[in-house]
């Protein structure tokens, strides 16, 4: 999935893979505990060997952490940076989290020229909060039930978001669109409301009702879906959330280059959601048995 998302990004942005100088892949389902996904993806994409490659983990915000970390490297030696969030969500069979377990990948190419949107500013807010975890030796994650709400998701999303609004001296109404990490359909709607965002603002990026929660890709897929319909000059607010816990908040401004990008993009989020096939839980159960050698 990370490869496919990256290929789409390189194609839509007409970017030469040999110009990528750094890559991060954020996930909580890296195929190996030891052996980086970043180099496997870089190898398949044909990226140059002179490359800063790293895997990131921070539950569902591993992908957006990459955007923040790589933003400092952008433009060095005329190189671009590739930030990917990709996950195959695991959940314990018969646990309530099974309802929302989803899989997806989103890729952003960061650069100094030809940008489709600028990063106006960002903040990050973290604390040691045990709401959702999986030890290295365990197959499935565990969580703390209702504790995952107020002290976890809401505390950190509002923490990062309020800091960003203060820093940029902006209000919710100054933005055209907003995306929040979507572990379910309820939390992001509530978080948006509390910060003053309207349902219309979060609508284009609100993918959870159709695709569930693809962990590190959740807010980034929402961002891509929003960029698929945004217009030059639009301001976009995004806040991810990773259990354990932390939030990354961003303010973006869309440029005129977005039009050319939209024209080239044959694989919009909406189109991919439309081209779906329903599968039976028996297939999912079989896949779980196979994957974990149960």
């Amino acid at each position: 999935m990370a490869v496919e998302a990256a290929l789409n990004a390189l194609g839509n942005g007409q970017i030469d893979p040999l110009k990528i100088g750094s890559i991060t892949i954020g996930s909580e389902s890296h195929p190996y505990a030891v052996k980086p996904s970043a180099t496997i993806v870089a190898g398949i994409l044909g990226l140059p060997e002179e490359l800063l490659a790293a895997d990131l983990e921070f539950a569902c915000k591993a992908g957006t952490a990459g955007i923040q970390l790589l933003s400092g490297l952008v433009g060095k030696n005329g190189k671009y940076a590739l930030a990917i969030g990709s996950d195959v969500a695991q959940s314990k069979p018969s646990d309530v989290l099974e309802y929302t377990a989803g899989s997806a990948a989103a890729a952003l190419v960061l650069g100094k020229e030809n940008t489709i949107c600028h990063i106006l500013d960002f903040t990050s807010f973290s604390s040691d909060t045990p709401d959702f975890w999986r030890k290295d030796t365990e197959k499935f994650p565990a969580h703390a039930g209702r504790f995952t709400g107020a002290p976890s998701y809401f505390a950190h999303v509002s923490g990062a978001s309020e800091l960003l609004l203060k820093k940029t001296k902006m209000k919710a109404a100054d933005f055209d669109w907003a995306i929040f990490h979507m572990p379910n359909a309820k939390f992001p709607k509530e978080a948006a409301k509390r910060l003053g965002f309207t349902p219309a603002q979060i609508a284009p990026g609100f993918v959870v009702e159709q695709i569930g929660n693809p962990y590190s890709a959740s807010s980034m897929v929402g961002l891509c879906a929003t960029l698929d319909i945004a217009r030059a000059g639009d301001k976009i607010f995004m806040c991810s959330y990773g259990s354990g816990a932390g939030s990354d908040a961003f303010a973006f401004e869309v440029t005129e280059k977005i039009k050319a990008h939209q024209a080239l993009n044959k694989n919009t989020v909406a189109k991919q959601i439309k081209d779906k096939a329903y599968i039976d839980y028996s297939l999912i159960a079989k896949n779980i048995l196979t994957k974990y050698r149960i």
């Binding site: 290929l7 893979p17 195929p31 052996k35 190898g43 050698r293």
Partner: protein, 99 residues
């Protein structure tokens, strides 16, 4: 254990196939799988001819047999090959999906 070195050599060739388009010359459905492919059964396999002329045997993914038409247009995707055993390195390779 599969050979990590053989996989390493193979992976170096994958970027040559990215995004390639082709047509499906003929396909069938495998019901009895070789080792490593048991969990994928039944799966579709066929021979694809890429636009540049190269013909290769590939697995056909993300579609139902009934959706395939003669000379079906397909695109290369990179996916996992078989299922790695506990100490194996994971192998990725060329497959196609209908477009």
């Amino acid at each position: 254990m599969n050979s990590p070195v053989q996989i390493w050599r193979q992976h170096k060739t994958l970027h040559n196939y990215l995004n390639k388009i082709g047509k499906l010359l003929v396909w069938t459905k495998i019901l009895v799988a070789p080792q490593g492919f048991e969990n994928q059964v039944p799966y579709l396999v066929g021979i694809v001819q890429l636009t540049e002329g190269e013909k290769l045997p590939v697995q056909i993914v993300d579609c139902d047999e009934k959706d395939l038409k003669p000379n079906q247009k397909v695109q290369v995707v990179i996916r996992k090959i078989g299922k790695a055993r506990s100490e194996d390195v994971i192998e990725y390779g060329v497959k196609v999906k209908s477009i």
